[in-house]
Symmetry: C2
Subunit: 512 residues, 2 copies
């Protein structure tokens, strides 16, 4: 018995088969393009996505010696498209980061006036912003009336793919919650929102609990994917909620910490903390893949991308060395960083190279930029690289503290993504945050999370908690060094002043 998890992101998809013990037996991935027909527009061609999902699945099925009993999807949120009653796509999926119409400014103002951010937050868990699907549907209504009229349903990428697999129109709670149209506590479409958006509920898929069986692979889909007809299709969830499940983040305490190009933390709780303080910090709450749990994501866009920037522009020598020694250039860079003392000789990095994230004021400030602050002629390359790692980690600490100030308990970080490959960085995270840092014994958290949900649907596990107990294992653990934590805490106090000091400079720089 194998369980198939399929992770569908903005730039590619992965299909991975796992045993019910959590061992990965096959992994296939493929890339596809995002389209930007005009400045600020970001669209996905879902037919292309579906083609790549089919291709990956076929490859996985071919490699698997045993039967795949169930499949579930881990999917990017917010992206939405209109389909006709045969499930044919009428317009490309408009993605979360699409910023047409000056970032949907007029629509956001309309919602602000009609219902207000506090009410919207209390119903949907969403701090009013341009990402949710509802604005994209309203945009189609206002700008493409003919498409809107012909639309049978507006689906997210998950329900589009589920429809392709099963002919059912079902969406998981986590993905429904990211549309800004769901009442996250009542777990149904929010009529107050739908009425204002002038949208019939039957234009949307039916929300269901992650882990519920939603249908079976039909004969056409079976032929195209290589899956057996009748394979159970199970409600998966939003990619981050699947990844959080994959690293065993099912309850308050341990959190997911994903360090890739961007940094994202996932915090699970029993009851969403829908306070003004949380709203102001820009931290939404949505349904977790874990039953009766809610998840919040803290996020900043400028993490590993800065190391890549450094690598691409300044690491010629380190690249040569890495090539000679057959090592990863990032390993060489962290080796260099490790020769700088904790605190990088008082050098600070504000890591806003692509803007700021949540948890700071103002949130998601796309005008904010990076800054090295405190440079002296005594700083060496090692200090610069260490300051990059420390700056990203200070930003992470600030994100964590936002949640803690709102009463959320955070006991440890379970690190995944490229950043989790570096023991040096993991120890640095422990020392900066004063948290236990765990590198779990898995690399594909999102596909594993989806596979665990497939397993629940297929009866392999009673629930998420049992699934996690069976498969979650620690690979390595990093404990904070108290002396370093003390040192970093002093520097962190200064670090926190850099963004407020420069924010008005960045506003003016953006206007140049």
């Amino acid at each position: 018995m194998y369980l198939l998890g399929i992770d569908v992101g903005t730039s590619g998809c992965k299909a991975a088969a796992f045993t019910p013990e959590g061992s990965m037996v096959a992994l296939v991935q493929a890339e596809y393009a995002e389209y930007s027909p005009k400045t600020g527009w970001i669209e996905l061609n879902v037919n292309e996505v579906w083609d790549k999902v089919k291709a990956c699945t076929r490859s996985v099925v071919r490699t698997c010696s045993d039967r795949i009993n169930a499949v579930a999807l881990s999917v990017l949120g917010e992206a939405v498209l209109p389909v006709d009653r045969y499930g044919a796509c009428l317009y490309p999926a408009i993605t979360a980061y699409d910023a047409r119409e000056q970032g949907y400014r007029a629509l956001l103002q309309w919602w602000d006036e009609k219902l207000g951010p506090t009410r919207i937050y209390s119903i949907t868990g969403v701090p009013l912003n341009s990402m949710p699907s509802v604005h994209k549907i309203q945009w189609i209504r206002d700008n493409l009336p003919e498409v809107y009229r012909r639309a049978w349903k507006f689906v997210c990428v998950e329900d589009f793919l589920i429809y392709k697999l099963t002919g059912e129109t079902v969406i998981s709670y986590p993905l429904a919650a990211r549309t800004m149209m769901m009442d996250i506590r009542k777990k149904r479409w929010a009529h107050e929102i739908l009425d204002l958006a002038d949208l019939d509920e039957d234009k949307l898929s039916t929300p269901t609990q992650s882990g519920n069986v939603v249908g079976e692979v039909g004969s056409e889909a079976a032929e195209e994917t290589g899956l057996a007809t009748g394979t159970e299709v199970v409600a998966g969830g939003h990619d981050q909620s699947c990844a959080a499940l994959g690293v065993g983040v099912t309850d308050e305490g341990p959190i997911m910490d994903s360090t890739g190009t961007v940094e994202c933390i996932g915090v699970a709780v029993k009851e969403p903390v829908l306070t003004q303080q949380m709203l102001k910090a820009g931290h939404g709450w949505y349904c977790h893949t874990v039953k009766d749990r809610y998840l919040s994501l803290g996020f900043f866009p400028s993490a590993g991308i800065i190391l890549r920037w450094y690598r691409d522009n300044f690491a010629e020598k380190e690249k040569e060395l890495a090539a000679e020694e057959g090592r990863d250039v990032y390993d060489v860079l962290t080796d260099v960083a490790s020769t700088s003392p904790p605190g990088a000789a008082k050098l600070l990095l504000l890591p806003h190279f692509v803007g700021s994230g949540t948890g700071k004021q103002p949130i998601l400030n796309m005008n904010s930029r990076g800054a090295f602050v405190g440079l002296s002629v005594f700083h060496r390359k090692s200090d610069i690289i260490r300051a990059i790692l420390e700056g990203i980690t200070f930003e992470l600490r600030q994100l964590i503290e936002t949640f803690e100030r709102c009463g959320v308990c955070i006991s440890e970080l379970r690190s995944i993504g490229g950043g989790a490959k570096s023991p040096f960085w993991l120890q640095l995270k422990a020392d900066v945050t004063n948290k236990r840092i765990v590198a779990p014994n898995i690399t594909e958290a999102a596909t594993l999370g989806a596979a665990l949900l497939a397993g629940i649907g297929a009866g392999a596990f009673k629930d998420c908690h049992e699934a996690v107990a069976k498969v979650y294992r620690e690979k390595s653990v990093y404990q904070p060094n108290p002396a370093n934590f003390t040192l970093y805490s002093k520097q962190y106090e200064v670090y926190k002043e850099v963004y407020p000091a420069l924010v008005h400079v960045y506003e003016k720089l953006a206007l140049l």
Copy 2:
């Protein structure tokens, strides 16, 4: 007939012989050490300095086919030492940047209370600070009473060397003015200051106009230096005032702009502008080497040293390329910078890698540090290097504007030092400052200035104006590009906000 100019700095000396037309016929240089017996102490061994001056002079004399008729010295300011009545050194010269006793804090406070900064400024032209010689003499009085008692005179390095050459104790006005003990308008020792410092005038050398003959080379000095007995020794001046003369800065209008490790501008006027505004900016006034003219220096310590920092830490590839092509690595770096657009793609550099200078508030802030502000993942190496050049040049513009706001007219910059070797940087200076930038046809401005003063003493020129008219020539001229000036002016407005934004961050960083 040759004229000898000897430039004596903090880390080395140069002797150069010139024709009365300003052509350099010989140049010899030597290095010596600064000594730091305790943290913050910076001393010079003047016997070592004298040895090196003699060695350089001997070398120059050997190369000269014609007779050297006169010699004058261009000398570092402030450094002072006690000598006995045979001219023997009783204690090392304590230099301008010596910061013993927490930067002479108690003495500065004492002067502040006894006389006050405004009165001191109005008499001596010196904004109260730790550099002038008077504090060092007071320190010797308070801490080495036996040395003080035995001291026949307290001399600066100029009068020490003049004594060695001639047996006379004479100091030029410019160097006397940098002791904070001279009445710069009456051109004599200021009794109000000497009385407070409890110092007899006969413990000091006799001040005289630069260009006046002060004596002849004696037989012992003749033997040691190779100069003919009876060679006229002429009063030279403070090194910056000699360099300013060397580039023809004899009157208001054109200023000297020296870009080396540090940046220094020299502004000449007929009457010193001893206003509160000038005092607050930290700009002192002292006697120029040019008769009846005053000179002010604007200064910041973080200029070419930042390019050197970049070269030493990040320019491995450029160093290889420079070696291959037999070029200067700085030429390669400015070539790279030139591929970035004006404004370095909105990247700002605050060039305070070794602290801030004059003309900003607070002045001479040794806790200030450098900052790259506005970094995005789209910035390339070329933007970083261009931002370094632009940041230094913005700082220069701010320095210039301080003088202009006080009513000083600045018509053009005459650039010397390492920075003047780069046509790219000179054009950038023109575009940022909107001034005509001239690279004069000389490289050794300070020794030339001293040689011109020697020539006045020897009767080769009537005065400094005639000397400059005879020898000063432009090598190349850079006119501002109006479009670039407009662009830079907008960016400069944002640049000016960076230091005020970060200054409190730097105070806290310094305390870590």
